[in-house]
Symmetry: D2
Subunit: 456 residues, 4 copies
């Protein structure tokens, strides 16, 4: 079978290669989700009398098999197939017969790709939240263990003030909570059923959009059919923006760790199994994982840019350009998940060298403490500041522990308030977990088992 739109002429081979591009490979990640969406559509068509119950049952049965085969990597899409949607309709027609030729009633490939992207995206966001939560907890655990280990706080990368390992690590946990909030927002925009939007303008058929939404466990129907199609790329962009913010957080952590593990500082040591070597320099143990966390942040930003470049100023209604929003979306979410895992492995296995950390405290680091002592003696801050600034040679060695103990305001070294961050992580996780369970129950009921939609 050729193209779904076959009308007796052949697409130019060059144009075909250009238009199909990587799509046939990318669609493999979406095939299972596409089959799930098709099952819901078939069931709904029967409920409004467009298919018989037998036809719907046969189609749903075959969709289940396709989904299972796809999840197991057993369905091929060839470049000449054009896309995964074609593969599904063809298989349904081959194995189920005439009913297969009816599956596309009241839908377009837009419905299929939109449903697949949202089912996949929703699951991917939940995986991202899972990993981000796990990393946040790992950071909080280590912050707690090393809460009292002093560390020179830096500004402008230069030694600045007394601080602690606890402050440093917990700051990343809090950054991740912000990122989790962004992921949650992306999930909300994703968690709406596109089915029934068709080519962008619905169809003159009495289809039941609420039913397909319910069958797929979506939180709601995405209402306006043109808005559904205009949101193509946009929902993905919001998700990738959230991943980008995760990566920005991890890139900062990577920068810190690359610096802190230099022999000249030696604050942390990475286990050798996280480091790779050089082909020419026998002694090297390079922090490749950290460097790639940094560069992948750069890469994800480029993917975010790609999607937005594609959708900016596009006319409304479906345009083929949307195809090119697919790869950056899929790659970005996969990269985000893997990067969070790498960061967690690193955080949980790195060694913190309290001795080297203490060695880093030179007298100047206590300049602000010295000025504030003068303030306690009644001097104004600005005068005290000027005195210390012009008498730096008077600063002596000090014990950082005392300085840290004086920090009693909430969120400082002496009062980390890790519990509030922990609670925030759990609050988000629980609320998303509830939604996830509902969605899974719906999908299980449709597809017969707890299908892994997203091959992540």
């Amino acid at each position: 079978m050729g193209k779904l739109w076959d009308k007796g002429y052949e697409l130019d081979e060059l144009i075909e290669r250009f238009t199909v591009g990587e799509d046939y490979r990318l669609d493999r990640s979406l095939l299972a989700a596409d089959a799930v969406g098709s099952a819901a559509h078939a069931k709904m068509l029967a409920s409004v009398g467009i298919l018989s119950d037998e036809e719907a049952d046969a189609l749903v049965g075959e969709c289940r098999r396709i989904a299972r085969d796809a999840a197991a990597g057993r369905v091929e899409i060839a470049p000449q197939d054009e896309d995964g949607h074609t593969v599904i309709e063809r298989r349904l027609t081959e194995r189920v017969g005439e009913a297969g030729k009816r599956i596309h009633t009241g839908r377009s490939r837009n419905d299929q790709i939109l449903a697949a992207l949202r089912l996949y995206g929703r699951e991917a966001i939940w995986r991202l939240l899972e990993e981000a939560g796990a990393l946040a907890r790992s950071l909080l655990d280590r912050a707690e263990q090393s809460a009292s280990v002093p560390m020179v706080g830096r500004t402008h990368l230069q030694p600045a003030m007394p601080s602690s390992v606890g402050v440093w690590l917990a700051s990343y946990a809090e950054g991740l909570v912000d990122d989790m909030l962004l992921l949650t927002t992306a999930r909300m925009l994703t968690d709406r059923s596109p089915l029934g939007a068709a080519a962008s303008y619905g169809t003159p058929l009495p289809i039941d959009r609420s039913m397909t939404a319910r069958l797929l466990g979506f939180a709601s129907v995405h209402n306006n059919v043109l808005a559904v199609n205009n949101a193509r790329g946009k929902v993905e962009a919001v998700t990738v923006d959230a991943v980008e913010h995760v990566m920005l957080t991890l890139s900062k952590l990577a920068t810190d760790l690359i610096l802190f593990s230099l022999p000249e500082l030696g604050y942390v040591q990475l286990p050798e199994e996280l480091c790779s070597g050089s082909s020419i320099m026998p002694q090297k143990r390079n922090p490749d994982g950290l460097e790639l966390l940094r560069s992948r942040a750069a890469t994800v930003s480029g993917w975010s840019t790609q999607i937005k470049n594609v959708i900016r100023a596009l006319p409304s209604g479906y345009n083929r350009d949307y195809q090119d929003a697919k790869e950056p979306f899929l790659r970005a979410v996969e990269t985000g998940i893997l990067a969070l895992q790498v960061a967690r492995r690193t955080v949980s296995s790195m060694e913190i060298d309290a001795g080297r950390l203490r060695e880093g405290f030179r007298p100047e680091v206590f300049a602000t403490d010295a000025a504030l002592e003068r303030v306690r003696g009644g001097e104004t801050f600005r005068d005290a500041y000027r005195y210390v600034a012009t008498h730096l040679e008077e600063l002596g060695e000090r014990n950082p522990d005392a300085s840290l103990a004086d920090r009693t305001a909430v969120g400082t070294a002496g009062n980390l308030n890790l519990e509030s961050t922990r609670n925030e992580v759990e609050r988000i996780e629980k609320s998303e977990e509830r939604r996830r369970s509902e969605a899974r129950a719906a999908l299980r009921s449709l597809m017969g088992d707890d299908l892994r939609l997203a091959l992540l």
Copy 2:
């Protein structure tokens, strides 16, 4: 008075010009907010015994005057002032005396800029929500008025299927609701008090961070002091991302309108006072506003990119680089507000030409309808599709109204369900309005009148 950090040497003139950059001009937008934050800090210092009540009262009084003068554009910042923070401390010292030299106790300029950016950003987001809500309502009103006017729905920019003006305009209202959700998330990240974070590591003073948060009407204290500083740029980026999504929506609308107002289509007509002319071609009435909506979307994306480029892989703790996140943030929110206003002016004043819209319906636009008629007669969709595709010459003139009436599924031309979109707009507006009133009440209580913080 020179720099706050003056210690007896002069900054190289070239470096000064490079480092100050546009900051002294940009800080004018933030000066009022900075004075508000300073008032809260002073009050808190008195509550923990670092200032006397008299000192605090005098400082708060002068901060009120600075805020009022700044809001009225009466405070100058010169390049050699370095920044607005310096201007404030100097004026407090000049007019209040010794207490002025104590205002900086327990804080750094980071506290000041962070507080100012968040007070400004929070207000800016509320203004953006206001304008986005107004535009959404305007779109819904016009969609309702023209709900039954048929319009050729386009895909690939080509005529595709029967649709309506109602579907078209309401799709943008729904897109804006998505954008409003993003703005709401940005508001949540913004609405946290940074005060007390100091240079990134707090201070060894028993300051009360909850009190300053309460005085400034923030929803909470931003906990970890390093996380506060690491969020610099990031909170702005999340806000600009939301503005970018608003602009992406508007750029699509602009593209549609530029096309639809071509004489060859003539679906809409822009009033002449929205169009400008050519210096050489006497007949021209150009849709400049729409073209600039499109290009400003491009520009805002570049600003978003700038902020993320600045913060990507920066080491933790304050870095001077953050300064360059300021301009793209301020420019983007101002652009977003103005663009929403321009879009609303356009939407509310354009004329829709129902006659030209009907003329656009050629027989081919009904090809899907024809195929679905055959489906109703029992043929499978795929066979019906192929029949019509190879017999396009059989398609005749049709009445689009009938086709639209057949679209009964929710969100389609025959069942627009505008009410749900309207409700969504209101739900977001109400919930934000509640938060906004609380914040305003707090600020009024601190500053003595309903100060316009953000000069938008």
Copy 3:
């Protein structure tokens, strides 16, 4: 055999997956080039006495076989191989014996990847120039054929002034000449031998960098060894910038063609074999190729962004981050070549409808002509402009041919001066062809036949 840097511990599986990423797949495109670089290195090692001539001959022979196998797609790289460099050293060691263990003397994998990227990049740029030149010629041919066909010139997308198909098509040919100049500059930066730079600091061995440069047909030695490594990503970015400019040119052409092929304008018609259909709408013939030219421009910009994001503010010397500059580079040049081919296919096969083009001339299009007639009668331009602007109703039908004939200044409809553009195209092509022949002669002499280095 394991990693080249194997020292008795295993890399963590997760980190390995993260660090290898897509590299093992991408390196397939670079394997032949890597083998060529290795052959040159072996020959040079013999010339300075580090290898015996027999060893060098054996290594060169095997490198030739690897290159041939790689070009034919017969060499596999598995994820656990880490990269293509490892595959080559292993195969040399397996098949040539001890000499294989000497091939890495005086080089690092950085030399290998840099040499491979430059050999590949140089060839890719030449391919891009070939395709850009062919498209420019195709545009000039069609411009010449339709030189006298009138066409409404548009500004702000609105009808503006009389123009011609010749002006329109030739403008793109000239745009491409600009792009070709950028490609030429990229070629110059690429065409320098990196060999001998090693890990970034050379080696304490008396290797002969001029010899390897000569053997590989490079125009010169890239001098400073650290500069060589710091240019990683940068040379690729310059190349991708040039491709981006090609794509920007094509995206504009695509936008014009999408608009001009709308039924409402009908200026051009695309042959059906360049259009694809819809799965739901039987009548559709969509300009997918053009839409994807537009979106690929968006995508290439994102790839350019990725590379620059990766290299911005990286410390000097090799960093693992550079790995992530590889994919955007390879993808962008492949996309550019294919896009140029698609554009040429479209330009050479589209039909221009002179009748519809003439129908587009409404009286207002001649408003400037009318004003200039008044100028010829002695009125000032500004007065004439105002008169016409307020008496548009006096404008009547006119013959566009006469107006075009009056345009006699160089570069206008009446004096296209296509020859100068044609000469410019040829000048660039000839000068690059000369360099290309020299390079090919060198490679043929090294590798024994006219090896296709770049699998494009």
Copy 4:
């Protein structure tokens, strides 16, 4: 006087604010160049008989005065003026009379802005080349002075191999030579006369485009009139791309210097007049200039993105969107010039601490040297590598000088070959200086003195 295109209606105030934007301020930088272009246009109009010689002389005289006033900052543009072109035509009409109303014959504002941007851009590129050349020479001088000072070469930021200060500093000089080549290419695309292109389609008047090109000292006429307008934004983008590459080079240098000036390394020391202080920490001397070099690289990338976002997929012919390509272009070139000056000030005044540099040599840095010694003894490199890798404890202290002396290949520490880089810098400078002198001579002849066109 109102708008040039005034036809009896008022532009909506909101739309006016939105469309004028920052233009009236930005045009101040371009006003002198605009007046120069106008003078050339007037002279040419006389030569083809459209103006009398007296009219042309009067207009040229007034254009000279405008240019001088503008260069001295004595010409105001108000928002209601719309743009600088209007200001010029108005002043010519007010002071010269009727001839002023003829100045716009045969041109459009597009000619004016294009000519102004190219005159400005050309001069700006020459300024950039001047500063880049000066920095390169400064780097080479310091490289020469410290050629023999050993420095640990780093890869992955980790200590890697023996290297020298000479290698390090000269690598940046070579990077700048690459950037200079890009600037040269940008100059070539800029150095073409746009005059006569009018609104995009020329005019039916016998104007002499070669004459205006000659009068303005352009290297050639930009031929196709539509290509001229389609190149708007593109020529600016190519220039900003070149500036971006300059900034990428400087961002790397900044990263190195920030790291190398940490007290933990202490390789270099920045003079205090290049450092600023903290408002809270009395001891701080922060490398703000370097941090801002880093962030400005991020910012310039965003500006480059803005221009490309604006022009991507724009229809051919003038579109108002182009206005938004102006600010990022002007800002980027100004930033580039200033950044190069800051980098030079830093490079020429920093102190290099040879003692601390030597202290950085730990035994592991010599691991490759040790392996290569075993190679000299006959072992294969791979075996030697493995031996050293597993016997790192055998590495002892070594003298880096000896290792450096062994590096005899060109471009390495022992054979820096600075002369070739110096020659390259001079070659580019001389060739551009020749073109610049010619252009200046032409402008002086037109405008009566050596006008500073670009207010940089």
